[in-house]
Amino acid sequence: MTATNPSTPVPKIAVVDLWKSFGGKPVLRGIDLEVASGESFVIVGGSGAGKSVLLKHLIGLIRPDRGHVIVDGEDMACADPAVCLALRKKFGMSFQEGALFDSLSVFENIAFPLRRHTSMSEAEITHRVRECLELVHLPGVEHKAPSELSGGMRRRVGFARAIAMKPEILLFDEPNTGLDPITSAVIDNVIVEMREHLPVTMVTITHDMKSAFRIADRLAMLREGTIVAAARPEEFRSLPDPYIQKFIAGEPLEEDVA
């Protein structure tokens, strides 16, 4: 089943018949989906459904066995290194535990891509880092080490680092996993706010339905390596599929109750 959104003629990201297996075990089995420009797209699914693997395909961290990931009309499996680099620069990605460089301070973490890829002066970099930290509501932590921050703060510094280069596409890998409900809601608000302030397309994977409904323009359900449904939140809630209903309600499937 495809997750095509008919209202948008040119998708920002298009995934076409994506297959991937690890050690003979299929993880993705023919994924097709399209994400429109400026949309907040959320992929939900159980543990081991292949969410992370799918997300990592989008940015080219994993190469597909078969199929394509097309971003702005260019295949991510590009041959030309210059095109490759340009494509990767369109992305900002936030990782599950933040994946901050623990040998660098918060400031240096956020400044890292700026120093690496731009010719900004130190003053401009300082300004940009402050700006990014304010967007995630963490002013004044520049000089702390990542190990001094709480899980939720680390996640938000990860967001700040992801948006430092003003990417066109933001990917969030389980932004709420392992956080308490209040911190989790704060993270969702930050994501929603970023979306309002920045001209970005967002793809988030999560298994937290509450959070998914808070941040999504459109939701897709990934199960056993295929997209079983994709819809706007209000339609998604009323989909008849029993698995989706159980997933939203947080109840076990009949086959799991023994």
Partner: protein, 266 residues
């Protein structure tokens, strides 16, 4: 029927496990050369990260000097002690200095220094890169359009390869001093004769071949450590496994390649 079919399957199972081991071995070698090749490819590409290079050179060179120096000093001392006792039996004590200087510069200083560095740096490279891998920091680098090999591995491999020769040069000097102090101070050798014999047969080529060996060992141990770390899987346990494997593998490869290098260089 079951028993006989199991009996027939036994050789197949043996073959299968042999095959799996061979595949794993080839994979290991393949990874080593993949990392080596891409390190050399990225070595001469912009941006050149001078700060990182310097930091790693301090870590490998300056910080390892005490342990390498101590190793060399005591190796020279024990070498003098042993050869003196042996050579005394056929009245050749005068040649102890030559034995000490030749065996140190050609063989012992490079190999022992490399083994010490494999333990000290090879392991820490594997642990560092391994934990960066399992906490997705390497993926994060990639996501920021930065080639992890360029940013992480190039400065580490370059620093280790560049710093081993000067470390071994220091080790040569300290080892010879250690030998001198034992032979002259403890065993009562004639200091003038000892000193003269130390340099009588020592050729500049002996020293250089030792330094070339050192650079090759540095390359081997750093690429091994980085490869093991880079391909770490399986969380904290995996990091531990990579660290151990890096030291064991680097040490074995250093000792084996030492034979072939000696064959080529002399």
């Amino acid at each position: 029927m079951n028993a006989s079919s199991r009996l027939r399957a036994a050789p197949l199972l043996l073959l299968e496990s042999l095959g799996q081991r061979a595949t794993a071995g080839f994979e290991e070698v393949g990874r080593f050369f993949t990392i080596l090749a891409s390190t050399l490819y990225w070595m001469f590409r912009r941006p050149f990260d001078g700060h990182q290079w310097l930091k790693q050179m301090v870590r490998v060179g300056v910080d390892s000097l005490p342990v390498v120096g101590l190793t060399a000093l005591f190796t020279g001392m024990v070498l003098a002690l042993q050869t003196y006792r042996g050579f005394e039996r056929f009245h050749a004590e005068a040649y102890v200095g030559s034995v000490v200087s030749l065996s140190l510069t050609r063989e012992l200083a490079p190999v022992l220094a490399a083994l010490m560095i494999a333990g000290r740096i090879g392991s820490s490279l594997a642990a560092e890169l391994g934990s960066m891998r399992v906490t997705e920091q390497i993926d994060a680098l990639y996501a920021m359009a930065t080639e992890p090999i360029h940013y992480l591995i190039v400065p580490r491999v370059a620093a280790t390869t560049l710093m081993l020769p000067p470390l071994v040069a220091c080790a040569d000097g300290l080892g010879v001093l250690g030998g001198y102090s034992v032979a002259v101070g403890l065993m009562g050798a004639n200091p003038v004769v000892y000193w003269e014999k130390t340099f009588q047969f020592l050729d500049l080529n002996d020293v250089f071949s030792g330094l070339i060996k050192a650079a090759v060992f540095g390359l081997i141990l750093s690429v091994t450590g980085c490869t093991k770390g880079f391909f770490t899987t399986g969380g904290a346990e995996g990091v531990g496994r990579s660290t151990t494997a890096a030291v064991v593998m680097a040490s074995v490869v250093i000792l084996v390649s030492d034979f072939f290098l000696t064959k080529i260089l002399f």
